[in-house]
């Protein structure tokens, strides 16, 4: 991106403001594979990647399937004194359900399952039709705003680190083995990180605008 310096400004539509520092830049089409960053604050503004849309859709679909597996299969298995206790992701969400900590149950369900799933679904809704070359779906703009707003609150990867810490804490107390849901969840985290790496927010917004039904 090139900064604008002259006082004779072109049309606002030919310009772009850096979302991080508000520097006025000349809006040019960034070619696929290229990275455009702000000359002042060096924030990456656009980084379109080849086949990004298709890849994001595939990864979001994979993530949804993995999430279903993660919720319904046993997550961790603990054996001590001849007793075995299986715990699913649902049990973990319900851990706070009794007593004063009950409101945390909702938060847990949201952070681990509901918000990540909502993000996958909204991304599929926004990018799906466009990947086929169609016009964006109705309210795709709202859906993408929701997906972006949820990004910090979808905490699947934080949860996985939490599991690792919990395992070490219990390891001395009892024998713990990992269930299929655990591996599904690990795969889910990897898929989510890959997906977010392909995503270039400003590029998606521009594409949405360009392909909008007029």
């Amino acid at each position: 991106m090139t900064a604008l310096i002259s006082p004779h400004l072109p049309d606002p539509d030919a310009m772009l403001a850096c979302p991080a520092c508000d520097a006025l830049l000349v809006d040019r089409t960034v070619s696929v594979g290229d990275t455009a960053s702000c000359p002042r604050c060096h924030t990456v503004i656009e980084a379109p990647r080849p086949l990004a849309m298709t890849r994001i859709i595939m990864l979001a679909l994979a993530a949804l399937i993995l999430m279903i597996a993660a919720v319904f299969f046993p997550f961790l298995e603990l054996g001590a004194a001849g007793m075995v206790r299986r715990s699913s992701l649902l049990d973990t969400v319900m851990a706070y359900a009794t007593g004063l900590t009950a409101p945390l149950t909702l938060a847990m369900a949201a952070l681990i399952v509901v918000l990540p799933v909502t993000r996958f679904l909204t991304l599929l809704y926004v990018l799906g039709p466009m990947a086929f070359g169609w016009h964006p779906a109705r309210h795709a703009v709202h859906a993408f705003r929701v997906a972006e707003a949820l990004r910090p609150w979808a905490m699947a990867e934080v949860f996985i680190v939490g599991v690792a810490v919990a395992l070490v804490k219990v390891a001395g107390l009892a024998h713990v083995s990992l269930g299929p849901a655990f591996w599904a969840f690990v795969a889910l985290v990897i898929v989510t990180v890959l997906k977010d790496n392909f995503m270039s927010r400003v590029t998606v917004w521009k594409t949405l605008e360009a392909r909008r039904r007029s």
Binding site: M1, A3, I5, L9, P12, D13, M15, L16, A17, P19, A20, C21, D22, A23, L24, T35, C38, P39, R40, C41, H42, I45, L76, L78, A80, A81, M83, R85, S87, D91, T92, V93, A95, Y96, T98, G99, L100, T101, L104, M108, V141, F144, R145, E148, P152, W153, M155, V158, V161, G162, V163, V165, A166, K169, V170, L173, V202, W205, K206, L208
Partner: protein, 211 residues
């Protein structure tokens, strides 16, 4: 890349009498309430947002106090119940010799939250006061605060996993304590504080520093 060549003083959208969208980068003329491209609310600068930052931050700090005073989890084992606060849990881990995990928990539950409080206070003050840290450094600081916030939630998840797993009735049972709620709220409130901060304010600060 061409991006990195040293540029003459940069014109911002606000200086040019226009409004830039912080979500999609679209430039609009003043008087437009919502971005035509992405529908986000347009503000030349979100100065009122600074009040929201302070409000969320104070809430986060206040509720962080009971999070440390009350038990995070209680372990009932063979009729004996022990209650652990956040710091108590860290110390116990160290007694067991798992220094790595103790380090992670200590970092995620104590160092990061407190460092975040300080960083947000500093960034908030830097908007209205003269500070010495260069803009680029402050921009990096903000990005770190924004990125790291969610990772403090680790301990809340650990307690949930432990108490769903360790329910061996007579052998040992772990139940979550009330501190988990206040800790989770503290993390959420500080995340809200960081999200309400308009990072463009960092670059407007009156002291144009030398780069």
């Amino acid at each position: 890349m061409e991006n990195l060549r040293s540029a003459p003083p940069i014109l911002t959208a606000r200086d040019a009498g226009l409004i830039g969208c912080t979500h999609c980068g679209k430039v609009d003329r003043p008087g437009v309430a919502r971005c035509a491209r992405c529908g986000a609310r347009l503000r030349a600068r979100d100065v009122d947002g600074l009040q929201k930052v302070w409000a969320w931050l104070i809430a986060g700090i206040v509720i962080y106090i009971p999070a440390n005073l009350y038990p995070m989890l209680s372990t009932a084992s063979l009729g004996k119940t022990t209650e652990n606060t956040i710091l108590g849990g860290v110390i116990e881990l160290m007694h067991h010799g798992s220094y790595g995990v103790a380090g992670i928990v200590f970092f995620a539950s104590i160092v990061i939250p407190i460092a975040k409080f300080i960083a947000i206070i500093y960034l908030g003050l830097s908007v209205t006061r003269k500070v010495h840290m260069p803009m680029h450094r402050r921009h990096t600081l903000f990005e770190i605060v924004e990125f790291i916030g969610r990772w403090s939630m680790i301990d809340v998840f650990v307690v949930a996993i432990l108490s769903s797993l360790v329910r061996l009735d007579f052998a040992a049972t772990i139940t979550p304590g009330i501190a988990a709620v206040s800790f989770a709220l503290s993390v959420a409130f500080t995340m809200m504080a960081a999200l309400s901060f308009d990072e463009r304010l960092i670059w407007d600060a009156r002291n144009e520093d030398v780069e």
